[in-house]
């Protein structure tokens, strides 16, 4: 290992698909023993980055090492040090859970006996013993994911790549998977987790790289990212557009470390504050004095959504401005008769 504590290092990764630059100078450094979140909207390049780092696709430019091994020049060695859980649960649905793990174990070159032992152990660890000898096709979404995770843990890899591990799972299964990941990290595995769920990164990752259009646009701790949007905010929602100037005046009186902002569409006005409760009552008093009816008023902690908005000027669900929208918005109908 390189000794500086990083198990994954990528510099200027490039990957083109035709004219599309899936990765466009992507940098990443993942510290050993942590969960590193790779957060970005649809099509940002998360999967492409994971596929390059796990040796599934060749890179067009840049350099990447995993566990000190070059992914382009030493793919075989890299493969014996990583685990991969892709966007779908990559398990054999006809085989039982146990047969799946034993097969993958033998293909990981553990030998027959140790593959059996390891399978039994992982079934216990991932709480799959009860269903171990049932066909994996009948497993619930959460169980499949856990089996999938178990399969990528067979060699106790130095780095585990998790590509949107909870996409399409119900909240309960999602919780099960998060729990399993936490345990792996407690046992010393380093995890690179891609996600579109801000909550997921929030819950699991200690450090986050935000990726957008193939480039890392931020790399920071969770708190660091949140600080960029300026801590807590006071927020007022009014009933009528005409009341927005009053609300702006009200929050301007207490704003600290940033200008008040208004969202005309949602009739929402907000500003960063320091004295949380004091500011809140000050704003309420001011608006009451002018007789402005208030829909909602409160304090809000910044979410990663805010971070993304701050970094890119877009919300996570929005398409990048230079891309054609995939579907045309329905044409506005003329006033119905």
């Amino acid at each position: 290992m390189s000794g500086d504590g990083y198990v994954v290092e990528a510099e200027g990764l490039e990957k083109r698909y035709g004219d599309k630059r899936a990765l466009d100078g992507f940098d990443l450094a993942v510290r050993e023993g942590t969960v590193h979140g790779l957060l970005g909207p649809n099509g940002a390049g998360k999967t492409t980055a994971v596929r390059i780092l796990s040796t599934l696709v060749r890179l067009d430019g840049g350099r990447a090492t995993v566990a000190g091994l070059d992914v382009a020049r030493q793919p075989r060695q890299v493969r014996s040090r990583i685990g991969l859980t892709g966007q779908y649960a990559a398990i054999d649905e006809i085989l039982t859970g146990r047969q799946n793990l034993e097969m993958f174990g033998r293909l990981f070159h553990l030998g027959r006996k140790r593959a059996k032992l390891r399978a039994a152990q992982l079934l216990r660890q991932f709480d799959l013993e009860a269903a171990a000898d049932k066909g994996a096709g009948g497993y619930s979404g959460g169980m499949r994911r856990r089996l999938d995770l178990a399969a990528s843990m067979i060699l106790a890899p130095a780095v585990l790549f998790l590509d949107e591990p909870t996409t399409g799972l119900d909240p309960r299964s999602r919780g099960e998977v998060w729990e399993a990941v936490r345990q792996l990290v407690a046992d010393g595995t380093t995890v690179l987790l891609t996600t579109q769920y801000l909550e997921e990164a929030d819950r699991l990752a200690s450090r986050i790289t935000v990726i957008d259009q193939g480039r890392a646009i931020a790399d920071d701790t969770l708190d660091g990212l949140k600080n960029r949007v300026g801590g807590d905010r006071v927020e007022v929602v009014v009933r009528e557009p005409a009341h927005i100037p009053y609300a702006l005046q009200a929050v301007a009186r207490v704003a600290h470390g940033g200008q008040p902002e208004a969202d005309m569409g949602e009739l929402r006005v907000h500003a960063p504050v320091v004295d949380r409760v004091g500011s809140l009552s000050e704003v309420a008093r001011y608006l009451q004095h002018y007789g402005i009816p208030v829909e909602d008023i409160g304090l809000r902690r910044p979410s990663l959504d805010d971070v993304f908005l701050r970094l890119t000027g877009r919300r996570t669900e929005e398409e990048p401005a230079d891309q054609e929208p995939e579907f045309e918005a329905p044409a506005a109908e003329g006033a119905a008769a």
Partner: protein
């Protein structure tokens, strides 16, 4: 450089590191064998699936042999059922490429192939292991089909003296050669198709391919242009050659492909393999683009 996989299992204190003491060739063969094991375990867990695959050829035997049998005439004379059975064997191996394609399209779609490729196993074993599985399964299928045919009164000729059984073995070898060639067609198609939904569409290839061949009727009994296509169909060559080797009526005329059925039954699979093996390998390699 500390051995990496040693964080493994606190539970038993065992470390799970792969065993590099063997050479690359050893592991390639071992990987193939483990992929074969996986394929065979599928049949062990779902034994009926083999009957599903054989259902169509068996139904065809019943339909053609018993329902239309009396009305069927083999050019040059001979028993229609004896003519039909080798055709069914050809059909059995010919339909096999659909199951090869099915498993590849499913594995690709679900990420199983990606999982294999992210592991330290030999990538070639993914394809080679599947091919070996398919040949083993084809032997089992042919065994079942021949037993069924025997039950219906089919009696192959074994010859006598030093040549005893030689024709039979040659016929089986030709059938397996066709199956071998079709493995690569299956792999190629499986990696080409976007999803499992399209697999059903492959039967749209299988049907005309089996109908416009000498499997059911001799090409001489077809309209001229159709007969020409049927004459040059690889399935017709294997059917013609195996009929002769099993000692069944061949219904063959004087055209060049009919006269050289044995040669073509060897040449067609060789040509198909030469074409589709590289295509399949290229498709597989393209996964890492």
């Amino acid at each position: 450089m500390s051995g990496g996989a040693s964080t493994a299992s606190e539970a038993t204190g065992r470390t799970y590191r792969r065993r590099p003491q063997h050479g690359r060739l050893f592991w390639t063969v071992a990987d193939c064998w483990n992929v074969v094991r996986r394929g065979l375990t599928h049949y062990r867990r779902q034994p009926v699936s083999i009957l599903w695959q054989l259902g169509f050829p068996i139904l065809s035997v019943l339909l053609y042999g018993y329902v239309f049998g009396k009305a069927m005439r083999v050019p040059g004379g001979g028993d229609y059922k004896a003519f039909l059975m080798p055709g069914m064997f050809v059909m059995t191996v010919a339909m096999g490429f659909v199951s090869t394609a099915t498993i590849f399209v499913n594995d690709a779609k679900k990420g199983v192939i990606d999982r294999f490729r992210s592991m330290p196993m030999a990538p070639s074993a993914v394809v080679a292991g599947r091919g070996a599985t398919d040949l083993i399964v084809a032997c089992a299928e042919l065994g079942i089909m021949m037993a069924t045919a025997y039950g219906m009164g089919w009696r192959p000729e074994f010859g006598s003296g030093p040549d005893f059984g030689v024709g039979f073995v040659k016929a089986v070898a030709l059938l397996l050669a066709l199956r071998f060639a079709l493995i690569w067609v299956g792999v190629w198609l499986g990696l080409l198709l976007p999803g499992p939904e399209q697999v059903g569409g492959l039967f749209a290839i299988v049907f005309p391919l089996t109908m416009i061949s000498s499997i059911y009727v001799s090409p001489q009994q077809m309209p001229h242009w159709l007969g020409q296509a049927a004459l040059w169909n690889p399935l017709s060559s294997t059917a013609g050659a195996t009929r002769a080797l099993f000692g069944a009526p061949t219904g063959q005329g004087t055209s060049w492909p009919e006269q050289h059925a044995l040669l073509l039954a060897g040449a067609w699979p060789a040509a198909l393999t030469l074409l589709f093996l590289p295509l399949a390998v290229r498709r597989f390699r393209r996964l890492s683009r």
